[in-house]
């Protein structure tokens, strides 16, 4: 049957409304992320400082200077080491906790509140707590170790009364990694919980009917099904961690010497505190190819797993 139709009213047009709805947000992001990003690259090729705002083209000088800088090499290595090592622990703990918190048990609400606190607290404020916990002289952790005979004269760990958590090369790195794991595990857990709760219940019911026990259901059904989500969780926490400078800014300022200096902090110290905007920008840009590669790799893995 032939139907006479009026020209569609613009607000009924799906694609037009879609474009109109999306445009403001995209524009905002383009202006305030795209433009600064291009500017960051331009800074890298220039000699701009806080005092001198002229952009003079200096070619690859900044990038070469940064790349040949021994401190930068060490900072880059430290950043990667922190990121990788912490991810291992985060994934292990997050998996355990996600399984715990997708079950029902007495006191779950309160337990969840406690466990979420490290993530809910603004990072810089939570770090104040750890700064005191790991204090050189007054650390409550040291006090406990002292009382239990691990520290002090004839102590098992050290004859000293303190371990100097944030002041020795090895221990400061371990401390920073521990604190990062402490604060990022809840985020990964929440993402994994989303994955676990999205498993269709009929699959789990069927498994139960077939007599599958808890461990078997977990290993052969749940874990394979949430693998793509696990990749997303990994992506999130790796990239957050790679770009983070707050933890070390509050805890150690990169010390002792350079042992806990990470890329973001180094870029801040050179670019803002040192006033050399050009070199600061060049330093942080070295992170970009790595971040992009991580993001693309993980998104691909996630989508491929979904198809299967």
């Amino acid at each position: 049957m032939y139907r006479f139709s009026l020209p569609a009213f613009p607000l009924d047009n799906r694609r037009l409304v879609g474009a109109l709805f999306l445009a403001p947000a995209l524009l905002y992001m383009l202006l305030l992320v795209g433009f600064p990003f291009v500017l960051a690259i331009a800074f890298g090729f220039s000699d701009v400082t806080v005092g001198n705002t002229d952009l003079n083209f200096v070619g690859l000088r900044n990038y070469l200077a940064v790349w040949e800088n021994d401190i930068f090499r060490q900072v880059f290595e430290t950043t990667i080491r922190f990121t990788l090592v912490s991810q291992v622990f985060i994934l292990i703990f997050a998996n355990i906790l996600a399984i715990i918190f997708t079950q029902d048990f007495t006191g779950k609400w309160f337990a969840r509140f406690i466990f979420i606190l490290p993530w809910a607290t603004p990072v810089s404020l939570a770090m104040i707590g750890w700064l005191w916990m790991l204090d050189t002289k007054y650390s409550p952790v040291d006090y406990l170790l002292l009382q239990t005979g691990f520290l002090g004269p004839n102590g098992i760990l050290s004859n000293n009364r303190n371990l100097f958590w944030l002041a020795t090369p090895d221990l400061s790195q371990i401390s920073v990694i521990f604190v990062q794991v402490w604060r990022m595990t809840p985020l990964a857990t929440v993402i994994l919980m989303a994955g676990l709760s999205s498993i269709p219940t009929d699959i789990l019911d069927q498994a139960e009917v077939d007599g599958s026990r808890f461990m078997r259901t977990l290993l052969q059904i749940k874990l394979p099904l949430i693998l793509p989500i696990m990749v997303i969780a990994l992506l999130f926490s790796m990239i957050t961690m790679f770009g983070d400078m707050t933890v070390v800014y509050v805890l150690t300022r990169g010390g002792p010497v350079d042992y806990t200096r990470v890329l973001g902090l180094y870029s801040f110290q050179v670019g803002i505190e040192g006033g050399n905007l050009a070199q600061g920008a060049a330093i942080s840009l070295f992170a970009f190819p790595l971040l992009l590669a991580m993001a693309i790799f993980m998104l691909r893995t996630a989508s491929r797993a979904e198809v299967r």
């Binding site: 799906r14 999306l22 433009f35 509140f113 979420i116 993530w119 994955g195 990239i239």
Partner: protein, 317 residues
């Protein structure tokens, strides 16, 4: 006041007693309900390792906060003279809390954080509500691509952008003003809330909109009158998490604002309550804890909703 002193003096004992009491009551309640028999006993025994694991994790998560709580009330003499962190040798005092609120810029920090947070939430909602709806319903493959692009932008860390952003802020004359943060924070809150909101919008049955369209609404009206009211719980949880994202932000706040009275909480507390090498420990720890508790409660309240939005946004996206 004297009750507070008594509680603090017996803090750890009270904590343990409270915990044991709760556990005891729970087990007693089970026995009362199912009878005290062998099967019940073995059930309780089988279940206890699970609770031990939960308790261990909780302990590690809570340790710094417990210490923060106790130390907020310690006198200087008690805090620094021969460390004895777990007991009070001098009566607890409220003088440091008093000092925090009356002698420092803490209230200014709170005010700035709240103002910035509210402004950012408003901007974010105005821009991301329609955009998220477009992603969820209106656009085809290119919309999906735009969505992935947004996701990637969300992953660009502030450490990559703060230097050029700093220049732009200076050029705009916004240095040392919270306005700079209000302009810049939406760059990470918009992608985050778009993602979450599109998850909530997808959960609204499309038939409802179709019905509205048949009834003579246009697309925009259908969005405003049908989809928005139905996803209100999701929108509220998006507001909460957007607000806390701004509360968490550190780097931009540190770089853009040098003026003490204009700083936000996350930057102000760790930079302004530490003068050179002098740490005002009790006010510092109290300042951190006072923020941590309400934010933690908000997170816990809206966690299920976040998980749901995330599931719809990511898994079924």
């Amino acid at each position: 006041m004297s009750i507070l002193i008594w509680i603090l003096h017996n803090f750890w004992a009270l904590l343990v007693v409270l915990l044991l009491m709760l556990v005891g009551l729970r087990i007693a309640w089970r026995f009362q309900k199912y009878g005290l028999n062998r099967a019940e006993l073995s059930y309780v025994l089988r279940r206890s390792p699970f609770y031990l694991v939960v308790l261990t994790f909780c302990f590690f998560a809570a340790a710094p906060f417990l210490i923060m709580f106790m130390h907020s009330f310690k006198t200087d003499g008690d805090l620094y003279r021969r460390p004895q962190p777990f007991v009070f040798r001098q009566d607890p005092t409220l003088e440091h809390l008093d000092a925090l609120f009356n002698n420092t810029a803490y209230l200014d920090f709170i005010r700035n954080s709240v103002l910035v947070g509210i402004a950012v939430v408003v901007i974010t909602l105005l821009l991301s509500l329609p955009a998220a709806y477009a992603l969820a319903r209106l656009t085809g493959p290119w919309g999906e691509r735009a969505g992935i692009l947004m996701f990637l932008v969300y992953l660009v860390p502030p450490t990559l952008l703060f230097i050029p952003m700093f220049r732009i802020v200076v050029l705009l004359g916004l240095k040392d003003s919270p306005l700079s943060l209000i302009v810049v924070y939406p760059t990470f809150t918009i992608p985050f809330s778009m993602w979450l909101l599109s998850g909530f919008f997808k959960a609204v049955p499309p038939e409802l909109e179709e019905a509205a369209l048949v009834d003579g609404y246009n697309r925009v009206e259908a969005f405003l009158r049908v989809v928005l009211p139905l996803s209100l719980p999701g929108i509220i949880s998006t507001i909460v998490f957007t607000f806390t994202l701004t509360l968490h932000e550190f780097i931009y706040g540190l770089v853009f604002i040098a003026d003490t009275s204009q700083r936000t909480l996350s930057v102000g507390v760790p930079t302004e309550l530490i003068l050179g090498d002098v740490y005002f420990w009790q006010p510092l720890l109290a300042a951190a804890l006072i923020i941590a508790i309400p934010v933690g409660l908000a997170y816990n309240l809206f966690l299920d909703s976040l998980v749901q939005g995330f599931t719809m946004g990511a898994v079924k996206g």
